[in-house]
Each structure stands twice: as C-alpha cells, then as structure tokens.
C-alpha cells in the first residue's frame, strides 16, 4: 500500500480511536511544549524587556547572540543538554535525564532565544515616549514596563506562538534528553522517528499529519482570537 494514503487513513483512525496510548502521546506533546513555552516566556520576557527598554554596553552583541542561538540545531543542543543532565554531568544528581522535566527544560532552553528576539524587537518597536506617558499618568517603573509590554503584545504573542511551534515540532532535544520512552517521554516527533526507524512508514506519516493538524489548529485559534480583538483591544485594560 502507498504509505502516504495508508498514513492518512491511519491518522484518522487514530484520531477517532479513543486509544489512550495515542492520546497520551498527543497530550504529552502539547503539555511538554506548553510548559516549555511558559518557562521560556518567563525566562525570556525579562531579558527581552532589558534589551528592549534599556541602553547598555554590548547590547548589539547580546542581540546578535540570541539571534544566532535561534539557528542552533536541535540535535546539537540536545547533545549538550544530554551531557548536562547525564548522571555524570553537572546536573546529574537531580536524576532528570530521560524524564519529562528534561524535555520541558530542554525545549525551554531551545525556544528561549526565539522568544527573546521576537519580544525584544516588538518592545523596541513601541514608541519610547510611551514610557513617559505611562509615568506622567502615575505609573511606577514596574507598571511602566508592563504598559510597554502590553503595547508590544502582538509581538509577544507572536513570539510565544513561534516558540510553541518550534518546541512541539522539534525532535533533537526530545529524543536525546527524553529518550523517547514509550508512555513516559515519547512525543509526536520521537514517535515519527521511531516508527520510521521501525519501517512502519504509515504510522509515522499518521503522526506527522496529526502534528501538523495540531500546529495548524492552534495557530488558527490564535488568529481567530486576534481577529475578534479578544486578546488585544478589549481583552484587558492596561495597568
């Protein structure tokens, strides 16, 4: 049978199968990349705010560093993180290798530069006089930064979606520090790799299709939400 047609059939069979193993994989993919994106946003946003709002020596260098890190091959990062998380490595005593935490932390590290770059660019694009506007209306320095962040919200959301997409679609980190252990750390991409390896191309393609559907679906939801001005204009007041 043609593996592509076989794959499409299997994809739809899986979606409607109610098979807990399959839903487990989808759930882990979403959960790991979701947590990784939240972590990366939490690490990256303050750094992006410093880059976007402050002038300091070596700022261009810092920006170039993060821009370069965006292109880091996932396998290379996976290998470095493997050595860090390995029992013999610096974080070895925590015993995180081949656990969900390793994937979540690893993918967070992977997407942090992407989130920093996009967020910092969005913040820099906001009129710098906006800071004075917030201040004169009575905002503290911290509230001022938040007001600017809200003005940059389009870019911040874009950065986080891009981060999530990269996290859910990457293989290198998940495979090297997660190990693709079935039922524990396997995600859509590691299963695609596994089933390709095992020669079950149909199932591999099915997982690929499902991955695409998820990414597409999430982007569609965000786009619709944006269109409805749900998040931006009326979502919340700036404070």
């Amino acid at each position: 049978m043609n593996p592509i047609i076989d794959g499409i059939q299997k994809a739809f069979q899986l979606i409607f199968s109610g098979d807990p193993t399959f839903y487990g994989v989808v759930y882990r993919s979403l959960f790991f990349s979701g947590v990784a994106t939240i972590l990366a946003a939490l690490w990256g946003t303050p750094i992006a705010m410093l880059i976007g709002l402050r002038e300091f020596r070596g700022k261009t260098l810092v920006k170039n560093f993060f821009n370069t890190m965006i292109g880091m091959p996932t396998v290379a990062l996976g290998l470095i993180l493997y050595l860090v998380f390995s029992r013999a490595g610096p974080l070895g005593p925590l015993g995180l290798l081949y656990t969900p935490a390793a994937i979540m932390l690893g993918e967070a590290v992977l997407v942090t530069p992407l989130i920093i770059s996009i967020t910092a660019n969005a913040i820099e694009a906001v009129d710098p006089e906006m800071m004075n506007l917030a201040r004169t209306l009575g905002a503290s320095e911290s509230q001022t930064s938040i007001a600017i962040l809200k003005e940059a919200m389009n870019g911040v959301i874009l950065g986080n979606i891009a981060g999530f997409n990269r996290a859910i679609a990457e293989l290198g980190v998940a495979l090297l520090v997660g190990g693709g252990i079935l039922g524990t750390t396997d995600v859509l991409t590691t299963d695609i790799s596994l089933y390709t390896q095992r020669g079950d191309l149909g199932l591999a393609i099915a997982f690929g299709i499902i991955l695409l559907l998820i990414v597409f679906g999430i982007n569609l939801i965000i786009m619709l939400a944006k269109k409805a001005r749900f998040l931006l204009t009326f979502g919340r007041s700036p404070q």
């Binding site: 006089e129 209306l137 009575g138 509230q143 931006l232 204009t233 009326f234 007041s237």
Partner: protein, 353 residues
C-alpha cells in the same frame, strides 16, 4: 498667589548640547502660563522637567516648597500630568485609556467609572468609552489624551502644543477645555505653544523662550502691548512678521513686511509692528479666485510636513507662510513640492501684536 513650582538656575544638556540655560521661573498656583517660542527652543524639555520626567543637569526645582529629588520623584509625578505634542494612545479602548491613571492611583471601580465619564463629557466625547482609541481621528485622540490627563485632577497640568496638529473645530474644543479646567478645577496649567493667537487669549502670563533661555515673562498685554524686541526676533514662529505699518486713505492699514510683500490689516497702527496670521485662517488655492479676501499672494510650496490628519505646508511668496490644510484636500489638489499656489486671507484675520 503662592508659587506652585519654583525653578532656580536650571540648566539641561543632552551630551554637549545645552537645551536649557540657567532658567529662573516661578509658576503661580492657579495660573495659565504659556511658554512661547519657536521649535527647538527648549519648551518640551522644560515641560518634561516640570512633569518630573527629565532630570535637570544642574539647578533646583521645588514643588510646593519641596525640592525634587530622585527619592520623591515618583510620588511627585502623581501631582502633575503632561499631554504630549505627539498624541499617543494605548492600544485599548477609550475607557481604558482615560482610566489608566486612576487605576494607577488604585481608586475604586465605581469612582473610576464616574470620573471617566465626566472627563469624556468635558472633552465632548460622551459615549466613546468602548471605541478602540487608536481608531479615532487625530483630533479625537488629542481630546482623549487631554481627558486622560484632566481626569487625574493633578495640581499641575502640562500641555505641549495642545492644538498644533488640530483642525479649527478640535482646536476650539481643546482651548475651551483648557480654560474650563483652569477656571473650575483651579488646575495650574503650563502650555507650550508657538501659536501667537493662542498665547494672546488663553494664558495669564507668557514666558518667551528661545535657544533655551527665557528672555521675558509677563502678562499678555505687557508682552504684546508694547512692541517687544524679543517678540520681534520671534520671526521663527509661524506667520509672524515684523514690518512697517501705514494707514491708507480708505482707513485700512498696510504693513510692508519686506521683499515686496504688503499685508492689509484692519487695525489702525503705524510704525514698526509685528503681525501674525493664524495658519488656519489662510486659504490655499491652485489659481487666483475672486473672493472678499484682501490679501492674495502667489508663491511656491517649499516644504510639506505631514502631521496626522492635517498637512502643514510652507509657501514662499517672498516671505515664508505656513498653511494648514486637511490631508484629503492635499491629495485632491494634487500638490507637490514646488507647486505654484495662491494663498489668501482677510484683512481682519491679521493679528497685530
């Protein structure tokens, strides 16, 4: 009247560029003070220092007798509010824009709601609460900006060219609101302007500022009444000219402002005088049209400045005139740099100062 703000020996430089030089100024409680001066004279920087947004390089600022320091600056900012020349709106609704400062002051929701609606009705924007602020016209945005500052009922209100980019209708509303706020709320107002006409009517006092130096402070009648030599040097202010006036036989006054440009005015004056024509009072056309306007000159467009919904044109008719037209007229007339145009204004539109 007690001094609300006192500025002593204040200087401000950015790098090696001195923007304000040894400023001495008292702002009295409850007054409207206009800072009159050409672009780049340091008005905006002075306003920002009064809003506690910029730190002076040297000198002292005291607010109600308390010297401004790095420690109390965030608290003092709650006492003043500034409206910037370039209108900035938060990307949210009009309501949230106006409520912003009240939320920063942690007022109860019900109070905020009431105050916002009062402020919006003051600037004649009732019912605009849920509109996205950035979708409003330039004039409406400036009114929201004014409401956003007024709603805070600060002791001090700082306005940077509040009507510079507005059409006459919006400008009139804004001027009206400024007067009301000063009269009813007893708000002390400092406004920067280079509009002579506005400076003459609104403020209690005028401070002339050029090249970072305050050269004269006084009541409008003092400043405009006798021909001030400082004011004469203010040719950089839009459409202000110095010339020799002569009364003609039919009772009007003709002012020769040099380079063959003679302006007819209604005021009876003679000798050295300054005249000012509000840019809004000048009509621009592509050909000479018959009208009641006594002053018609032919010239060329020498610069085009886009400022929101309005376009500011410099027209050289022998002397440089500034004309404001709407963006729509600008594109419909198909104007370009170097286009030949006619400007026309009534003799009664010429302000003699």
């Amino acid at each position: 009247m007690a001094a609300l703000v006192e500025i002593k020996n204040l200087s401000k430089s950015f790098g090696d560029r001195t923007v304000l030089d040894n400023i001495m100024l008292q702002i009295e409680e409850g007054e409207i003070l206009a800072l009159l001066g050409p672009n780049g004279s340091g008005k905006t920087t002075l306003l920002k220092i009064l809003a506690f947004l910029e730190k002076p390089t040297s000198g002292e600022v005291t607010f109600q007798g308390v010297p401004v320091t790095a420690k109390n600056v965030e608290r003092l900012r709650l006492q003043s509010a500034m409206v910037f020349q370039r209108t900035m709106m938060f990307s949210t609704s009009v309501y949230n824009n106006v409520a912003y400062g009240l939320r920063m002051r942690k007022l109860p929701k019900a109070v905020i709601k009431e105050e916002v609606s009062k402020a919006l009705s003051l600037v004649k924007l009732e019912g605009f609460e849920q509109r996205p602020a950035k979708k409003l016209s330039g004039g409406e945005q400036q009114r929201v900006a004014l409401a956003r500052a007024l709603v805070l009922k600060t002791k001090l209100l700082l306005l940077d060219e509040p009507t510079a980019n507005l059409d006459p209708k919006n400008a009139a509303i804004v001027e009206d609101v400024i007067a009301t706020a000063n009269r009813d709320l007893k708000t002390t107002i400092v406004m920067a302007t280079h509009n002579m006409f506005q400076a003459k009517t609104l403020p209690n006092r005028i401070a002339l500022i050029s090249d970072g130096v305050i050269s004269e402070v006084g009541e409008p009648s003092e400043i405009f009444g006798e021909l001030s030599k400082n004011l004469a040097s203010f040719a950089a202010v839009d459409n202000t000219f110095v010339g020799t006036a002569e009364t003609t036989e039919d009772g009007t006054t003709v002012v020769d402002i040099g380079n063959g440009v003679r302006i007819e005015a209604t005021a009876h004056r003679s000798g050295e005088i300054s005249v000012f024509i509000s840019p809004q009072d000048i009509i621009l056309s592509k050909s000479a049209v018959a009208s009641s306007a006594r002053n018609v000159f032919k010239g060329r467009i020498t610069s085009i400045l886009d400022s929101g919904s309005l376009v500011k044109l410099a027209v050289d008719v022998g002397q440089p005139f500034t004309v404001q037209i709407t963006k729509r007229s600008f594109s419909e007339m198909g104007l370009n740099l170097g286009s030949e145009v006619y400007i026309a204004f009534k003799a009664s539109g010429v302000q003699v100062v």
